[in-house]
């Protein structure tokens, strides 16, 4: 019998090492695996490189991980949002490195990392500062830049429901970066609010097949970033 459940968030992230590259799902608060991030803060790993579309809001979740000084570098497309002050402060003080990547190029680089494609050409960003220093090549009339796949040591994502084999379903626009990130890490950890036995999900409707998932954490009632911020919460 195959059962990828682990005891809880702490057990799931216990082996994330100092200096690890960690992909973290979410677009804004949608899909942010807050319980896994908080467990990672408790666990204490340092000098992390974080791959995530944003940098969190308030002082919970991803922003709290940054605030705790655990992140050396962020690879993302949009590091500021309405309630985001932690990253901007760190960045202005020179305490965190930023690799800014267009959102679609970020998604494609992650997919490529997971699909064994070391590099690809894309027309996105040609003629902009984000293409500077990159290899260019013309395809027909379209100038492109060469972009490289990204892989991580760990991926932390949030799903809605998983079976014990690690097949995952998501909730609406919380899906966002989770499926490609699930494919691109040595160890993929997913928190879900529901776990069912293998065979309970429709094989036609599975979004992330279990082969991409290593550990399942059951978090029955995940917290929502905006609700925590509205309540004035900070972590830890």
């Amino acid at each position: 019998m195959i059962d990828k459940r682990v005891a809880g968030p702490a057990a799931a992230v216990a082996d994330i090492h100092d200096g690890a590259t960690v992909m973290i799902g979410g677009f804004g608060e949608a899909g942010s695996p807050i319980e896994l991030i908080h467990a990672l803060i408790d666990q204490g790993a340092k000098r992390l490189t974080v791959v995530s579309n944003n940098t969190g809001s308030g002082e919970v979740g991803l922003a709290a991980l940054l605030k705790a000084g655990r992140v050396r570098k962020v690879i993302c497309s949009f590091p500021r949002t309405a309630n985001s002050t932690v990253f901007p402060d760190l960045y202005r003080r020179g305490e965190v490195e930023l690799e800014l990547v267009p959102q679609g190029t970020l998604a494609e680089r992650i997919r490529a990392g997971g699909a064994g494609i070391p590099a690809f050409f894309t027309p996105t960003a040609v003629g902009t500062p984000l293409a500077q220093g990159k290899e260019h090549r013309l395809f027909g009339d379209t100038e492109c830049v060469l972009e490289y796949g990204i892989r991580a040591d760990f991926t932390l994502i949030k799903g809605r429901c998983a079976d014990t084999h690690g097949n995952v379903l998501y909730h609406r626009t919380a899906r966002n970066f989770a499926p490609p990130m699930a494919t691109a890490a040595g160890v993929t950890i997913v928190q879900v609010s529901e776990v069912v036995d293998a065979g309970q999900l429709d094989a036609e409707a599975i979004v992330t097949p279990g082969i991409f998932v290593d550990r399942i954490v059951h978090v029955p009632s995940p917290q929502q970033e905006s609700a925590l911020i509205a309540a004035g919460a900070r972590y830890p």
Partner: protein, 229 residues
């Protein structure tokens, strides 16, 4: 570059709603459309009766609907501006690599974006003013302009401070090179052509010279449609 000092410009020409309404007339029935955050979102309110557009939001939804009723929202059903939205019949969710495959692969018919500057060759600058202290953030703007079939810009013709936004060459960092097809401003609708800016239509009561004075490159006059050639 600063146009002639005047206080009139706010009072004349199209209002923001007028610009959005004018732009909406140019979107065919059945188009797949991505509306940028802010003023571009206004366009959805003015789609002519009888036309259905399908809205794409790059964070992973096709068939996006308007904001939910108060209290009925879902914090995980949001748009690219991270505001809560709804879904229409026929909607579909997908991940980010699929969403940007739609964009980069030329599957969307139209992207409507705001602008800091648009050049006469269709260069667009809309993501960064290049200030040293700014936190750089690009999101999906570069992907949209590189991939979507047509790119419309909706913007005030000049900034609040009176700076020209339609220019010979952009001074802000680019979002994309030669990507804009058409610009809708409070003063005019202007195409980007191989010859540069060409006026398609002037707002009511706005003269060609008035627009030219507020534009940082030569404006070509509308092409006259004659009854017979």
């Amino acid at each position: 570059m600063t146009p002639p000092a005047t206080d009139e410009s706010a009072a004349i020409g199209w209002s923001r709603d007028d610009i959005a309404r004018r732009l909406a007339q140019d979107i065919p029935h059945g188009s797949y459309v991505n509306l940028g955050i802010g003023i571009p979102e206004l366009v959805a309110r003015f789609v002519p009766e009888g036309r259905t557009l399908i809205y794409h939001t790059e964070n992973g939804l096709l068939g996006m609907g308007p904001s939910p009723a108060a209290g009925a929202g879902d914090p995980e059903l949001i748009n690219a501006g991270k505001r809560q939205v709804t879904m229409m019949p026929g909607a579909a969710f997908f991940d980010q690599s699929t969403s940007f495959a739609m964009i980069r692969g030329g599957h969307l018919d139209l992207s409507v974006l705001g602008a800091l500057q648009v050049s006469q060759t269709g260069d667009l600058a809309n993501w960064s003013t290049g200030e040293a202290d700014a936190i750089p953030a690009v999101g999906g703007a570069m992907d949209l302009v590189a991939g979507v079939r047509r790119v419309f810009v909706i913007t005030q013709h000049c900034t609040k401070e009176g700076e020209m936004k339609l220019v010979g060459e952009c001074t802000y960092p680019l979002t994309g090179r030669a990507v804009v097809d058409r610009v809708y401003t409070d003063l005019a609708v202007i195409d980007i052509t191989a010859d540069g800016f060409r006026v398609v239509e002037l707002a009511p009561g706005v003269g060609f010279d008035f627009v030219q004075e507020r534009t940082g490159a030569t404006l070509l006059p509308p092409i006259q449609r004659t009854a017979a050639v």
